[in-house]
């Protein structure tokens, strides 16, 4: 405990020391403090107040490259410190090399990306935008006119974070997680070719690695399996509409009982209807063998009441099981760098369905974010 407090103190000292060096090129330090109060609506769980400090420390030179570390300090389970990302990026004439713990963002769809398979989810941050876990990887991006060739190699498997017993989603905790053996054969690899065209952007990709969604064995163990996957995506604007699509086909490398090849695709359109209203609608489908395992309508809208106050609504409706999730928000920019969000998560549906099983987990929250 004392050691952790000492580390926090040292980091604060670092902030103070580096403050005078902050500049466009060179050493930069940025950060964000987030406090969030969550109150359950249906059950009598005690309210949860969590506090996070995120620090981004980077050294940047437009000629040579970037070295970056993102540290997160959370008061959860006794002042937890984690290195969210740490990497070095080297800029060559036509190629960027990135080595280290990083997040790889493949895919042009919004929120659901079937071609984005390297980073597992942090399930303690389910339904939040920043719920991906960085993986240690080597990445090379080669630029040739309007084409980008992207190669990624992640030597070691990184599992999702299922959380701990006192987490909001702790009922999802597995009895046992069987981790794959770390070996060259089990490492993950992907390649993507993207075209950034005048009228349309598109890409094709290949991924060989582990599915980040484990299957449950006969004895209740969570096991990960290797897959080969090919995919693609596109984005094209039609006047004031932008259409985006993304899909991937997955084939398990080893034969697994009751697990057949499957595909996922998502197709959507978004538009600013007036200066104040933004609507994004997507259709998502996942099919395994002859069975639709998911078929969803995903809606995301924003209404700008004024330039500094906005209402948001995100909703997912599962057409197969008729269950859904609704996430309304009200965001106020109190002043520059400080925002206050009031929001909630409402789950509904039949028992045993994806969102219906979370029916008693409805909660509302207040979140204060301060960036510096």
């Amino acid at each position: 405990m004392k050691l952790k407090l000492l580390i926090i103190f040292l980091i604060i000292m670092l902030i103070t020391s580096f403050a005078s060096f902050v500049g466009a090129e060179g050493l930069n330090l940025e950060g964000q403090i987030e406090s969030r109060l969550e109150i359950s609506i249906k059950n009598h769980e005690i309210p949860r107040l969590s506090n996070n400090l995120k620090l981004d420390l980077e050294y940047y030179s437009s000629h040579s490259g970037l070295a970056k570390a993102i540290v997160q300090i959370s008061d959860k389970n006794g002042n937890k410190i984690s290195l969210k990302e740490v990497y070095t990026e080297l800029y060559l004439s036509k190629t960027d090399l990135k080595i280290g713990k990083q997040i790889i963002n493949w895919g042009k769809a919004d929120g659901v990306n079937p071609t984005n398979n390297f980073n597992p989810e942090d399930l303690t941050r389910s339904f939040r935008d920043d719920n991906k876990i960085a993986v240690s990887a080597l990445r090379a991006k080669h630029y040739n006119q309007n084409w980008i060739f992207d190669l990624v190699w992640a030597p070691n498997f990184t599992a999702p974070n299922f959380g701990e017993a006192d987490d909001r989603w702790s009922f999802l905790l597995p009895n046992k997680v069987v981790m794959p053996e770390n070996s060259i054969e089990n490492s993950e690899f992907g390649i993507k070719a993207s075209k950034w065209g005048t009228k349309m952007d598109f890409s094709f990709s290949y991924f060989r690695g582990y599915s980040k969604e484990p299957y449950i064995s006969n004895i209740g163990e969570f096991k990960f399996y290797r897959v080969n996957s090919i995919g693609g995506d596109f984005a094209r604007d039609f006047g004031s509409f932008v259409m985006r699509g993304e899909g991937a086909y997955f084939k398990p490398i080893e034969e697994i009982k009751y697990k057949e090849p499957y595909y996922k695709f998502i197709l959507g359109v978004d538009k600013n209807f007036t200066d104040k209203i933004y609507v994004n609608t997507q259709y998502y489908r996942q099919k395994e063998g002859d069975i639709n395992t998911a078929q969803k309508i995903i809606l995301s809208t924003e209404y700008n009441i004024t330039n500094f106050k906005k209402l948001g609504l995100k909703a997912v409706y599962n057409l197969e099981d008729e269950d859904y999730i609704i996430n309304p928000t009200y965001v106020m920019d109190i002043r520059d760098n400080v925002s206050l969000t009031l929001g909630g998560y409402i789950f509904a549906g039949k028992k045993g369905t994806e969102y219906g099983s979370l029916d008693n987990k409805d909660y509302c929250y207040v979140e204060l974010q301060n960036s510096f």
């Binding site: 437009s62 932008v242 520059d336």
Partner: protein, 266 residues
């Protein structure tokens, strides 16, 4: 007889000269030409600056945004623009890249550091507010060919002689996109810069007023606006844009306007 012929020739010549001079004057006084002349940035190869944007609302404290902007006018007439936010911290790194397309809609990307990848957005949302300010995207990149410009008069503003030019969108679609039905702009006769512009809705009601109050001479007879104030009559708010650290013709290459550059740190 000879003298009469000479007189006729002289009169004809005089009439022709007067007609030609009149044509030249008319050409000079054409609304579009006045706008063209005032669009100084179109005459430079490239342009870099830091921009400070102050948003003032009645009900909230003033907000200040700082950003870097650079523009390249390629030889083929294609214009490329990149903007990156420096301040405040919660939007730092956010960027826009627009590449003009000569035979269709422009290509526009938005980069949000939290998202980690560029996102293609529609370039036709011209009437939308630029980063919560009172300026729209259209105000910052006024497309002259989308309007019929007409010189409607001469006036004096603060003792300075000005031309008054009326600009009306050429189609209903453009009018709906840009968010106004008419714009009346005032250009200094001496410096050929826009000093004021008033925006009207379909009912002829004033909706916004732009006042350009500071200018910097970049070469003989060419001036750049360095301070713009947009007053929103409806909302009672205003936004001030001030340019600083101007640089023109620095030799920026076209590869500085790419998704690769957009995703790099500032």
């Amino acid at each position: 007889m000879k003298r009469t012929k000479i007189n006729i020739l002289l009169i004809t010549f005089l009439l022709f000269t007067m007609y030609a001079f009149g044509q030249v004057l008319a050409a000079e006084l054409n609304g579009r030409k006045i706008f063209d002349r005032a669009q100084t940035l179109d005459t430079v190869n490239d342009f870099k600056a830091e921009m400070k944007m102050t948003i003032i609302r009645q009900s909230v404290r003033k907000r200040v945004r700082k950003l870097k902007t650079k523009t390249l006018n390629k030889e083929n007439g294609v214009e490329m623009t990149m903007m990156r936010f420096l301040e405040p911290a919660d939007v730092r790194g956010t960027g826009f890249l627009t590449v003009e397309n000569t035979d269709g809609a422009d290509k526009t990307y938005l980069y949000l550091p939290a998202m980690g990848k560029p996102r293609r957005i529609s370039s036709e949302e011209r009437g939308g507010n630029f980063m919560s300010s009172d300026f729209t995207y259209e105000d910052l990149s006024f497309t002259l060919s989308d309007y019929n410009h007409k010189l409607i008069g001469n006036e004096k503003i603060d003792g300075e002689d000005v031309y008054v030019v009326e600009s009306i969108p050429v189609s209903k679609e453009i009018k709906d996109n840009v968010g106004f039905a008419k714009r009346k702009s005032y250009f200094s006769k001496e410096r050929f810069v826009m000093v004021k512009s008033i925006y009207f809705n379909e009912r002829g009601k004033k909706i916004k007023k732009l006042i350009n109050s500071e200018f910097k001479q970049i070469k003989e007879g060419e001036w750049l606006v360095t301070r713009m104030v947009m007053q929103n009559e409806k909302e009672g708010s205003k936004t001030i844009i001030e340019y600083d650290d101007f640089e023109i013709n620095t030799g920026i290459s076209a590869d500085q306007f790419s998704v690769r550059q957009l995703t790099r740190p500032l």
